[in-house]
Subunit: 426 residues, 2 copies
Amino acid sequence: MKGNVLVGQSGGPTAVINSSLAGVFKTAMERGYNKVYGMRYGIQGFLDEQYIDMSDIIKNELDLELLKRTPSAFLGTCRYKLPEIHEDKAVYERIFALLDKLNIEVFVYIGGNDSMDTIRKLFDYSLLTGATQRFVGCPKTIDNDLAITDHTPGFGSAAKYIATSTKEVIYDAMGFSYKKKNVTVIEIMGRNAGWLTGAAALSKGDDCDGPDLIYLPEMPFDVEHFTERVKELLEKKDVVVAVVSEGIKTKEGKYVCEFTAGSETRDAFGHIQMTGTASYLAEVVHQTLGCKTRAVELSTLQRAAAHLTSKIDVDEAFNVGGATVKAADEGSSGVMVVIDRVSDDPYQSATGVYDVHRIANGEKVVPRKWINEEGDYVTEEFMDYCRPLIQGQYNPIMVEGLPRHLNMNIHNYDWARKAGGNQTIT
Amino acid sequence: MKGNVLVGQSGGPTAVINSSLAGVFKTAMERGYNKVYGMRYGIQGFLDEQYIDMSDIIKNELDLELLKRTPSAFLGTCRYKLPEIHEDKAVYERIFALLDKLNIEVFVYIGGNDSMDTIRKLFDYSLLTGATQRFVGCPKTIDNDLAITDHTPGFGSAAKYIATSTKEVIYDAMGFSYKKKNVTVIEIMGRNAGWLTGAAALSKGDDCDGPDLIYLPEMPFDVEHFTERVKELLEKKDVVVAVVSEGIKTKEGKYVCEFTAGSETRDAFGHIQMTGTASYLAEVVHQTLGCKTRAVELSTLQRAAAHLTSKIDVDEAFNVGGATVKAADEGSSGVMVVIDRVSDDPYQSATGVYDVHRIANGEKVVPRKWINEEGDYVTEEFMDYCRPLIQGQYNPIMVEGLPRHLNMNIHNYDWARKAGGNQTIT
């Protein structure tokens, strides 16, 4: 009889990270593993013996379907970096003792670069000690910045949400343009990689011209040049929409959002939170050109909008989750599952596995050739790369007019008492 | 043979204002009117003879269906208040000369309080001069603050979007709560009326506890008391979510967002835009209680999100649009169409007409009895009132992975040359 699978989620959530979790659970059950344990709050919670038996949560097919469509990291997530093995062996001894105690054969970690670093270290430790558990990484990040894999689960749905919202914001702005030119600056997540910011270009089509300007963090940003470009555009049209990454910085390396640091307020609380990049640029344009401006930050919504996901993305996330268990079951360890693009037309993808040492801590940014010469838009090739990833919908399961999720408020489940371990979930 | 219908849109758009426009067009055609002209940018554009022949835009049933699902004010909108008749007769003379020139029999204006003021004035002028055109108002506003009507088209879809997004933000926050309490402040539109802010409570259900605190602009807001309440809640739970109206103010009448005024920056551009209400409160909580905080502004998205509308709302908006033409065709003038709630269980509504003098410039706020005693949540009665209005979906018509809209970029249509008048659309 097979032992158990342990799965955790780490880093920022996506709209489909729970679809991968569902895939891990389903494949583990199908392949005859005894139990699937879920780490609460990733490796950080696991070190405190915080885990659950997933079968206490997923009792039937509907639960599994709900889990696939539930936003946020269902198990809870963490941002926790394991020490190097030579720095602190005790942490590793503790983790492996727990793995033995729970009879874990397969360890799956769903996450981005930092999470793959965790897989790498645990695998390396298993080599050093001859431990038999297998360690497999499951890619996840809206930022799409993981190496080797064609793209990451989570990116497609965030891109779809961003393109949809960008089109809606452009339409809204067009309604107000009579004898009153207006400029909108939309701010998108992605501090170092501009994949998501570039995805705003997908709003371009028969029914929409798309944004006028797109600035990725891969290129140095010049505030004055930006204002000049907006001014030129306003001479030709009434509505200008610019999309900027939260991470754009000047050629000196200063983040644009830092330009507002140093603001002082006269209330009791001292410094006020930095104004965002979009707010700052909107204000600069307003002050310089005098026109009406608006800043829109998509903020948390772009990674949490489970109500508007890409079918390709949800399915791939699910498949990639399943592929981690399959890979481990067939003997792989120290690998991450990757997505290979088999064909562009029609779009087809397949999963593969790749040495995690080649992936961990890498960062894949948008190649220079996919940004236009002026550095203020993405190319057709960039859009061709993205477009297949936003296709199709998983309509939410609607109850009383709202998307229903698998109840994440698992504090209320009685597994907290049942599941054993010193569970002091507070 | 009947003459023509003229229709315009005014004020802030909603996700369903174009569904009303579609309703006007369809009923006018069915009732045998010759043409439907659309004012470009409301009465302001019309004064400059900016109008289009709607049949140049809507050529078939699919176009009509697309229009129903297109966000923003398709015809363009304005914020333009007509002078009182005794102040400036020339404006009225010009409008009525244009109405005669275009053989207009029915004048429909889709909008909120200010737009109903326009209907009232034009109707009053027609009484003074014996003009035979009929003037009918079509209610529209996400703010739900129009008098007499049970609710306004636009509110239900915005409420649905807000409740859905609030649930997603709550889920996102729950994923990050391990050994790190966090507070999220969500800011919602509605400067004087708290209907939309209160609608965040609809996120409460079997799968979500909903926000912890909800502050409407109807009640005075106390920053210190708010921080105290958050502190109390953090003693019992790890994740606290507060929803605030952009319009909350202290008992002295100062807007909370004004607390950040007076910030000075050291860059070349002088004052930076006021930090928003949510950003300010998030920063206050962070400074006072030391925990991680996040501010989320739903901004333009809440009125533009045509990708997540309520079926009840889209249908009612369409019906209300049709009812304006019907009312005029049957002899009414100086009225607004209202929605009467016929039954709560099952929800049923019907359209009626009401004297626009009783509606214009009024403002319906949330009644005190629908806010809890402490002033930090809405009551069950409030939620029972809202819930029917968010039911059902109109799924967007998806093309290449994105919602397709009726192309609003009508500058490119050749009607601009065809439609006559001195159309200098730039």
